[in-house]
Symmetry: C2
Subunit: 255 residues, 2 copies
């Protein structure tokens, strides 16, 4: 299953921290915008503001890549764009397949940010025979039966799953068996994959739930300017259980 791995030995000095990797695309976007406006150099302070992080973090992140700045001056925009692109592997072309061409799949297929970042939609795949041949975003949809051939013919190593939850694991298994080693999963399910396959997961529902948590907290705390927040946790007592400011009525929710 997806979890795993009791042993991950010490990171060799070569590795870039995961948190840093996750921010590189952010910096890259900000730099690209500067590049388009022909801005030659930028300071950590300015770039950090554009990327929405603080400058100390940005400098620390860049320090893992190397010393690409000039003290007293800042960073050369074009040079940094290249270095980050290279580090992320975007100087090469990544063919990608999208499986599941429903509302979401179509939206993804139409997404313009692909080509500009080294990604190319190599194929669209759907299980519905009625979809086969229909062009979406200018690319004809192909049937799931041909999935393996499509992967192999195009040398695809990155797959995007936009199917309903029920189909996701099966699609995933076929993708992996055909040679895909990185998966971006939009289906609301936990995928299990063999070791060495990378899965990232995006789900609207989770994001909204996290927002709801903070939203609820705001509402509950606006009567506590001192920060004493609503009721301390109900340790021990499993009977009473209540803490929210507004006593909500029970009833476990439906699915």
């Amino acid at each position: 299953m997806a979890t795993g791995r009791t042993h991950r030995p010490a990171t060799r000095s070569r590795g870039i921290p995961e948190a840093t990797v996750a921010r590189l695309p952010l910096y890259l976007r900000a730099l690209t915008a500067l590049s388009e406006r022909s801005v030659p150099t930028v300071s950590s302070e300015e770039l950090a503001a554009a990327a929405g992080v603080n400058s100390a973090k940005l400098r620390k992140d860049f320090s893992y890549l190397g010393s690409y700045g000039t003290r007293g001056v800042g960073y050369d925009v074009e040079y940094l764009v290249y270095q980050i692109s290279r580090e992320l592997g975007l100087t090469q072309d990544w063919p990608v397949v999208i499986v599941g061409i429903g509302n979401l799949g179509a939206a993804l297929a139409n997404y313009g940010g692909f080509a500009s970042r080294g990604f190319r939609v190599a194929a669209l795949i759907d299980a519905d025979p009625a979809m086969a041949g229909k062009p979406v975003a200018g690319i004809p949809v192909q049937h799931t039966d041909d999935l393996e051939k499509i992967i192999e013919d195009n040398g695809v190593s990155i797959g995007v799953i936009a199917t309903p939850a029920g189909a996701a694991q099966q699609v995933c298994d076929r993708l992996v068996a055909a040679g895909v080693t990185s998966i971006l999963n939009f289906a609301p399910t936990v995928l299990s994959v063999p070791d060495g396959v990378d899965v990232r997961k995006v789900d609207l529902s989770i994001e909204l739930q996290i927002l709801a948590f903070h939203e609820q907290r705001k509402a509950g705390e606006e009567a506590h300017p001192d920060g004493t927040g609503p009721a301390a946790v109900t340790r021990e007592s499993d009977a009473s259980a209540d803490q929210g400011p507004d006593g909500d009525v029970p009833a476990v929710m439906p699915a």
Copy 2:
């Protein structure tokens, strides 16, 4: 990533760790599935496997909510579903507006995972006059001109931005001025918001770039048959997943 809140003051002593909050929806989904199969109790080990995390982490997470388990036995499924729902604020109804009804906005409007989790699409808003009145997912699209009125009339506090990048900040400003305090941003741009407004961001392009980074690394190091090679990843990230049992399609993406 996602901004937990632009700058949370140091006064956070009673709170649930952000990392834990981000996993609660995951547990909730696994529990909901168990509930539907009428499973009465579950151990931390089993539930952890279903949610794709390890059991120590899960127990620690639950310990922040209270002592809801029974030693030697496990957790009562229904009870936990209720407790987590309440903690996340899902026992109440959250009206949500979606702004920008393009491919992505339509996909979001059609997303089934809303209602099942306490979210209700109160309105769809688009700047294109040609869209006005057209029903998407059974809900008529309204024009941007009426944004403020819609927000106020429906008591909306959560907004979803699915517009092109160029329009996002402006839409955001209007949402915030009208009273929205939580925003889920699908546009590939950094939004600036006043203190007290919570923004989370979902960006397809970033997810793909992170995958490309690891993919490149695998390719570069595949000469390590002894296992010294690249760490098995199976990422979880901060923008992740969830949802209900069958066939919902989540969505995401920038323009």
